[in-house]
Amino acid sequence: MLNSLKYTIKEAFTQLFRNGAMTVASVFSITAMLLILGIFFLITVNIGLAVENVKDDFDTVSVYLLDETSYETAQTMMLQLEGMPEVENVHYLDKDTALAQWTAEKFADNADMFEGLAKNPLPNSIEIKVKDLASAENVAKVAETFDGIQKVGYYKDVADKLLRISEGLRTGMMIIMAFLVVISVVVVSNTIKLTVFARRKEIEIMKYVGATNWFIRGPFLTEGIIIGIFSAILSSGMLVFIYSRVVKSFSLHITWFMDTGMVPVSFMTFNLIWIFLALGISIGACGSIVSMRRFLDT
């Protein structure tokens, strides 16, 4: 067992060196595929993060109360709302605080504009923070059934749109990535098929001498895996380098206009390396198994 394992690995490396050009071609084609995949992955993850951040700003439901509604009535409403599993937290916002916040936020430069106001036009409200933007609608519906409320407000349009965007983005990216994986398996199996085809005489001879199918397959499989590992290292290295450059030069600007950061390089490096290793190894292994099938069918 150990002997054949040693043989398999030795044989794989020998063949990789003797078929140098083919090896380089295979490594390049897998690397190229992984790079494209990786770029898509980076874009998806970053857009996902941005969407999550934006979602955070819109996940509150405001219940505006009638002026007659007492604080005690509001308290019972709040207790009921807090009992809902979708709700993260609830707090009471009285009209004076609301006005102060509003003027400070929107009219910081000329807050004195509102000083002469005879009556505070804003209502008291209960601010509900939901755990998930998707459940905002449910919470709002429950709140609407309460007595003594003026209206329930939440960012319905924005919420719907954001949800649709992030959902669409996720499925779209999944489809594109799955497609790319299939393409890379095809490309790699074709590249390896060339090697196998160039060596089909050899395979035939091996069978005549009495080699089992797995004995013949072993070195080719190992070759595929080694090619996959090389490509994974090469492409993740390149991608991490590119990404760190991009983060360095763009993250400032992006923060400024989108209010979200980029996914940190260290986190990306770790994930990219293991994802690429897994992908590279399986692409290499699948490629060699697929391309050998035809030559080993007896």
Partner: protein, 245 residues
């Protein structure tokens, strides 16, 4: 030991073998002769389980070939050394590696390989070329390597499919002397050939096949006249023995 018991093999409408029964004992040296398309290759391919018989039973080294599962084919082929007209050496491997390969597939240790391979290379007289690649060798030398590869696992049967077909007469005789020497060590040899002069001079058992039937099985000579042998040469390459004869 090879036993054919009433074996029939048809290719669509063409007859390959027609109710053939034959027994080749351990230690025999047998020539299989006959015109092209008579069924010689069918015979060899049946022994190696490359094809399945339509009828009858085949035994090789005590294994019943017909009922052998695909998983056991490698075992069968390891117990029968095979030598081809076109040598069939692995081009990317040196002489040493080509012979070592036959041992590697049987999971033998590096130490066994280092001991056994030089011994076999010595037996076939090719030791000094151990580090050369097949394309750096002459035809006769390549055939010696092929024989070494076939012998390295000590098979009980050595099948030689026109082993001298691509060689000049002098080299052919060297190979024949080598095969005879191997036979003396106890290995059964089944040799398919068209080389009349070789068969005549060796004086071994000759099985002649024609149109799928065994027409003659006796010790002695080739049995066909020179012209017949020529007319049936068909896909024969090289034809060295022809000029010689």
């Amino acid at each position: 030991m090879i036993v054919f018991d009433n074996v029939t093999k048809n290719y669509n409408t063409n007859i390959g073998l027609d109710h053939v029964s034959v027994r080749i004992k351990k230690g025999d040296f047998v020539f299989l002769v006959g015109p092209s398309g008579a069924g010689k290759s069918t015979f060899v391919r049946l022994v190696l389980k490359e094809i399945e018989p339509d009828e009858g039973r085949i035994f090789v080294n005590g294994l019943e070939v017909n009922t052998l599962t695909n998983r056991l084919i490698p075992k069968l082929r390891r117990s029968t050394g095979i030598v081809f007209q076109d040598f069939r050496l692995l081009p990317n491997k040196t002489v040493f590696e080509n012979v070592a390969f036959a041992m590697e597939i049987t999971h033998q240790t590096a130490r066994q390989i280092r001991r056994q391979v030089p011994q076999v290379l010595g037996l076939v007289g090719i030791s000094i070329k151990a580090d050369k690649y097949p394309n750096q060798l002459a035809g006769g030398e390549q055939q010696r390597v092929a024989i070494a590869r076939a012998l390295v696992n000590n098979p009980t049967v050595l099948i030689a499919d026109e082993p001298t077909g691509n060689l000049d007469p002098d080299t052919s005789w060297e190979i024949m002397r080598l095969l005879e020497q191997i036979n003396l060590r106890g290995t059964t040899i089944l040799m398919v050939t068209h080389a009349k002069d070789i068969v005549d001079k060796m004086g071994k058992r000759v099985i002649a096949i024609e149109k799928g039937k065994i027409v003659r099985d006796e010790y002695g000579d080739y049995g066909y006249k020179e012209e017949e042998a020529h007319s049936h040469r068909g896909a024969y390459i090289g034809g060295g023995y022809n000029k010689h004869a």
